[in-house]
Subunit: 332 residues, 3 copies
């Protein structure tokens, strides 16, 4: 995982300070250990703290390289000896506090009120076509021969590749857009995801320190929303096309050459393979794995994993041959 | 119900003038009665005119304090003696005419072409952070320490509380936003609802004189639309969070601590309790009552009332245990 | 079909040049024939080239007046003798190449970076009400007494009728809007449709040379998207009302007096009759024919043609009486 371009890491932070701020029981002897970052089970190194809140992830847990892991009593057994468990009542709440400590600006989308109209020198140098009232933040990059429509907002550190076409009224933040990508009018890309915990009658927002990565040759339809990831990134694979009014939630990874029709919604953390076709208005629940070459009928509701090459339809989505059989039975 | 901040009431108006404009049969002796306002059955006082068009509302009708009630012959029996019925052919059409008489500007969203960039003195005084090209109408109020993104439009009389965060490209009209509310980019809040009658080959629009009231600590996701009420208000309860691309129709009341995922739609006049969780892309039909602590699965279609504490899923949404049984039967 | 106002036709072009650019087998003796345009089977004249890719359209094929037709071996038999078939491997791919040859600017939405603020003289002459930062292209027309909100973008050649109300943050291109139409805030109308072919690991975009035609007295709800047609136009019939967040794909034709509730999606090339009512979140698949006076329940998924006067509901949508029977059976 590359360096975080969008959120400044306040680490390293000592585990004792982390414990103090986040009300951990001080059940570790390593009070002076310096922790570099907070990461997923899979991405963590020996300098990081991670979290583990469901037996569903026990395989990743058993392989984690993290020095510390926020978890609960019944999950300790899955962790390797190299990883010191930190027992808490509510893993996600504690994770939220730790992430906020490392990345204090990631909880709410901090408002950059210093955006300015793109400089003419940049436009000329890169042979850009830029509409009126386009506002850009600090340290952004727009590749040669790209188009940016009217009233579009590009916040700090965003990277846009060559030969891209960004429409009008688009809002781009915490995003990396590769070459030859078309983002159509009215898209809102890179905002924080819909993640929070109810706690004592208030909702506590998750930190979202990931970005949105849109790979080469993609098209994102008008009025679509793509939220950035919480700890990992939200990723759209090369050559994948989204139609209008699609919603892609935080942490979703979509493969290459996918075709996603209008008003589809993909809930948080689901992973979609390559060459997947999703019909209009279909919905995919969170934390699912959809294989390669899958076809999902329009209007379907997918609530479990789908293996490679399957064609599914209905609610809940089922193999199309079962669906057709069921339809015939109904009509008997 | 508080004074209407957004639409000027032309009342009091004599019942004889109301009858003349709206082609009522003059079946009342009280021709000189002055009527103050047009209201719901429940909200009316002895100075108001109301309407009653379905036996479904017979209980409210029997308790109404209104002086006059627009209704049909077969419903008269439910009205108290204190309320004089006014018989019409089409209750909703006549209601529309009466409302237009009291509130002539409420039929189509009147365009305020006098909006101006926020004054620097207001920004400084209230410690606001305001982006470029934010346009505001007359008599608006923005509480201390609030943020307003770029290109956002805030029309006449809108009230925004303290510590709020309003995104970019947001349009706010006929709305009251309490403290600590987050309204994300691209939301359109307070427009008139989708209400009209076909009449002689034209569609006649309903008057919408209600507002949108968003209570403390709410979050409204990017690209969401919340329409204002017709005679009552559209209300989002304290601490309720909406994800992206949600649509809330006119007159809907949502309780406290609700969690409403992406692309959900709630049709007109439905009432949602407290602590309700609604999964992505679920739809709720109009004029329903959803109890407290209800959980509605993603993609469900709710077409009847749901009691407290129920967990429902499917189309039409049914208790989750029935849904699972049905799934098992299918797979036998 | 009227002259294309939005895309310049580079024809006439000789069939030999067309064949060279598009890699046709030169199986015609008419190498010097000049072709005026590329059109549908039904719209073609003796000077045009057309295409025919499915036996589903054999009736239209048998009646076509086109001089040439891009097609495949097994479909030749349906064409009249007056029409010379041009055999290709992939009809849609070749069509795309031919259309691009005639209309080179229609593949990607060409960005008009010359848009300017509306002239005061135009506003005064036509008694318009126009908000700040409204940008318009060349050769546009706005009828008398119309309203245009803030930040709205109206691209080259767009025609807007009299007494129209166009909201704020609207984007209108390749569109003809008749009198007395209301287009609410945030709509994106006239962009190219979601049409492309996977080819050698890239997606090739279809040409979209049609427009969006919105007839008298329509209302288009906030945040809706209506894509322009590929070879024909996308049409909204007189007096039809769309609610918020509706998506209408390319080539769709909707009749008169229809009522389409929030978040409905209609996929490409479907035809909807007159007086059709579609409940919220319903979806209609592509290439279907929905009759007159049809009622489609909220949340339904329509995947086959619906005859006149039917009332359907469910997924897949079925006659409401069957749906109710099935519900009763489930509850037994």
């Amino acid at each position: 995982m590359f360096k975080n371009l969008f959120f400044k890491n306040k680490g390293p932070i000592s585990i004792s300070l982390i414990g103090k701020v986040c009300n951990f029981a001080s059940n570790t002897k390593d009070n002076n250990s310096k922790i570099s970052d907070v990461k997923n089970l899979a991405d963590s190194t020996i300098r990081d703290i991670t979290f583990f809140n469901s037996a569903k992830y026990r395989e990743q847990a058993s392989l984690t390289k993290a020095k510390f892991c926020i978890t609960t009593k019944n999950l300790i057994k899955y962790l390797p000896n190299s990883c010191t468990p930190i027992l808490v009542d509510n893993v996600l709440l504690s994770l939220s506090q730790v992430t906020k400590l490392f990345y204090p600006t990631s909880i709410t989308d901090n408002f950059n009120n210093h955006l300015k109209v793109v400089k003419k020198s940049v436009i000329k140098k890169n042979n850009l076509q830029v509409g009126k009232n386009v506002l850009v933040g600090k340290n952004i990059s727009i590749g040669k021969n790209s188009f940016i429509g009217y009233n579009t907002i590009i916040e700090d550190n965003v990277i846009i590749g060559k030969n891209c076409s960004i429409g009008s009224n688009v809002i781009l933040r915490n995003s990396i857009v590769k070459n030859n990508v078309h983002i159509l009018d009215g898209c809102i890309i890179g905002k924080k995801g819909f993640g929070f915990f109810p706690n004592n009658g208030e909702n506590i927002r998750y930190a979202h320190i990931g970005c949105v990565l849109i790979n080469e040759n993609c098209e994102i339809g008008a009025g679509s929303t793509i939220d950035r990831g919480s700890l990992s990134n939200t990723i759209i694979g090369r050559n994948t096309f989204l139609d209008n009014q699609v919603h892609i939630a935080h942490n979703v990874k979509i493969g290459e050459n996918c075709m996603i029709a209008g008003q589809v919604g993909i809930a948080g953390s689901s992973i979609i393979g390559n060459n997947v076709m999703i019909g209009g208005q279909a919905g995919i629940s969170g934390h699912l794995i959809i294989g390669n070459n899958v076809q999902i009928g329009g209007g379907s509701g997918v609530i479990k994993n789908i293996p490679d090459n399957a064609k599914v339809i209905g609610y809940p989505a089922t193999e199309i041959k079962n669906f057709l059989k069921e339809m015939r039975n109904k009509n008997d």
